[in-house]
Symmetry: C2
Subunit: 420 residues, 2 copies
């Protein structure tokens, strides 16, 4: 075994042992741990955390990282306070573990139920934003799991500092040793070795760019729930309330363009395009959005850049939007199936039949009628904090909260039943 | 791209295209397809199927395969009739696709729901028993998926013959081309290439021995739900009803020893061992069960073979059982956690407190009080037919029926809601 394999196995084994104790931790202890973590983070904000973070930021500047990346890396007092608030919010959420979802009686009198239990050991592989360290730890631990966190090498000092604070606070509240591990080594070989620990780790959640997700999916022998890109669409139907459509398109694009549920492509029915598009594009441009249009859009509004094939699959995460005029609901649905990423897609219409058809045929983590794509979110859906929006189809789809960080076991209450 | 990669991509792409059409197939068409398949299988039993099967059986004999393997491979008229019955039973099950599990209203008036939808494209990789071809096809198609089946090379003639019959019957009922593919090539490289088609295939289900499951898990970039071995335990507590305990231990071992939910290790509390074990072992031996015991068991009953460390992790799938005397519930639970496979474990007791403790602490796909481990089964639990018993923790755990062959999408009914 290589040194990396040994280290990975030892980390994973310790987490596995801790996960058995975590599964027996009371809700009170888990919540107390998160509240203590919040307190310790706030206390250490201006000392340990910012000192460690400034090391990362200095190194990033020296390495010539982009201003956007450096911004994502930087922990201001406000951001640290937000991390603490996040921890307290998760502490206050109901504990999914132990909940019995359903219990039924069989003809032989045996009672069968489904009890939620922690998943076990969760590994989170992420990039850039050190806030993820606290967010991911809070959700995994509250659901009763042990968690192994491996952030990007550019944030290693910040992550390790935050990790140490969370770890110590957790210990004081009674969490078992090994419940929370922040990997302090940055070698890729160690990540590769961790991804092979399927005997001890139950789930890997990669959070980051396409390259990271691809690498994790290729290397992991552990199940992966990915949080991939969002190429989200709004289809404005011929029967749309045009003023509602305008508000929703604008909100979905500009309210926070850097998020995965921001809209990237607008599909406009040809019957309303001549009246609707000039007004909409005017408002988008006022909001500093760059519009890239199909040939029919270019005819309707002068001075619009031509959209290329690459625009239909682009996740801009920026103040840019692609616009296409379509002949029918069928064409819109076909476009979404061809170019979309099954993340979030909406129809704006007053027509009952077409609303139902869109809901039925479009197959995305959220399919919406007359609402902004930006609402596909754990908080907005009332599911509590989320560890991401799953773009996979297995285990979790859409906002992934505490519930999806658990699994079930069947429980059977019998009185001597046998198999005939 | 190699020839294997090209073939794999072409199979997977065609299945992906078919899966979009399958998702829109009505329940009536899907059920009609399964009923027609059942009819065609029965019609072709004595001609096409048995001729193809006799080729496989002859080759297996020439290759010197064991009598047990040849038995599993052989399709008798009775087994073909059972396949047809299985297809009709799945046809009659309720369709999970389209079901809305829950719908709730948010403070802004937006309604959010969870709608069950087909998983998409499912690949099943299996060994030996050609019956699996019909069973797996029925469940995957009924839930609205496209399915790619790749059986063992020793059964290729049987599988291809069954596949052709199912395919043609499905087509006549209106299933799309590509909804059901039985891979007719036996090269391992083609399986390896299929396991990389994560753009087109959503789930891989391996059914077979440990070697097959290991290979699939290591090679697949597609999510895998495994159906692994069952090292199942019964713990007979000091407060057990001894006559109930005797019946359950016997039933769990001998009713069908070759199944994954048959018991493999009996843990007996030391307080009842002196009275209980001699009677139990006598009955087991009368039923031709070979008993391997710990030192304390050997002291209580003369002539018992010593159990070695390997016996505690053994999945015998045969008339053999390991017996261990334990000092406490804690020791039993610890033994199960150390040596078990988290499949099915039961406690026999009249003590409420210890029953609850066992249910809480033991973490297996089914945890039972006073019932035979053989009851961990889709049919027995009332879930309908199953494609296997998942020993993974992600997506499905325990009996995996139609429900687990679907995923969800969130549907949102709005009236112009925006993200504030």
């Amino acid at each position: 075994m290589t040194d990396f394999a040994k280290t990975a196995e030892s980390i994973a084994k310790q987490a596995r042992a801790a996960s058995r104790l975590m599964a027996q931790c009371s809700t009170a202890i888990k919540s107390e741990a998160l509240n203590r973590m919040a307190e310790s983070l706030a206390d250490a904000a201006e000392s340990t955390i910012q000192i460690a973070n400034s090391q990362d930021v200095a190194a990033a500047k020296q390495a010539g990282l982009s201003a956007a990346l450096i911004d994502r890396l930087t922990l201001t007092p406000k951001r640290i306070a937000e991390m603490a608030t996040g921890l307290r919010e998760v502490a206050a959420l109901p504990d999914p573990a132990g909940e019995i979802e359903r219990m039924w009686v069989r003809p032989n009198g045996m009672r069968v139920g489904r009890m939620r239990v922690p998943l076990g050991v969760i590994g989170v592989i992420y990039e850039s934003r050190p806030n993820v360290t606290a967010e991911a730890a809070a959700l995994c631990l509250k659901a009763g799991n042990a968690v192994i966190l491996r952030g990007g090498s550019e944030a290693v000092h910040s992550n390790v500092a935050i990790g140490r604070i969370l770890h110590d606070a957790g210990q004081k509240a009674g969490l078992p040793e090994g419940a929370l591990t922040v990997v302090d080594r940055t070698e890729r070989e160690l990540v590769a070795a961790l991804l092979k620990q399927d005997r001890y780790i139950d789930l890997i959640i990669p959070r980051g760019g396409e390259g990271l997700i691809r690498t994790v999916m290729e290397q992991s022998t552990i199940p992966v729930v990915k949080h991939d890109k969002g190429v989200c669409h709004i289809y404005v139907d011929q029967a749309a309330d045009q003023s509602m459509a305008e508000s929703i398109c604008l909100n979905a694009k500009v309210q926070r363009p850097g998020t995965c549920n921001a809209v990237e492509t607008l599909l406009i029915h040809q019957a309303v395009a001549p009246t609707f598009l000039p007004k909409l594009i005017d408002r988008l441009q006022q909001a500093k959005v760059e519009v890239r249009g199909c040939a029919r859009t270019q005819k309707l509004v002068k001075g619009i850049t031509a959209a290329t094939e690459a625009d239909w699959t682009a996740e801009y995460l920026d103040l840019i939007v692609a616009v296409k005029v379509v002949d029918s609901l069928d064409e819109a649905v076909e476009h979404i199936a061809t170019y979309g990423s099954q993340h979030t897609d909406a129809i704006i219409t007053r027509d009952y039949q077409r609303a139902m058809e869109f809901l039925q045929i479009v197959d995305s983590s959220a399919v919406m009628v007359n609402a902004s794509t930006r609402l596909n979110d754990g908080g907005q859906f009332g599911l509590g904090a989320e560890i991401g929006i799953s773009t996979g189809r297995l285990h979790a789809r859409g906002p992934m909260g505490l519930h999806d960080l658990t699994t079930i076991k069947h429980i059977v209450l019998g009185e001597g039943q046998l198999r005939e």
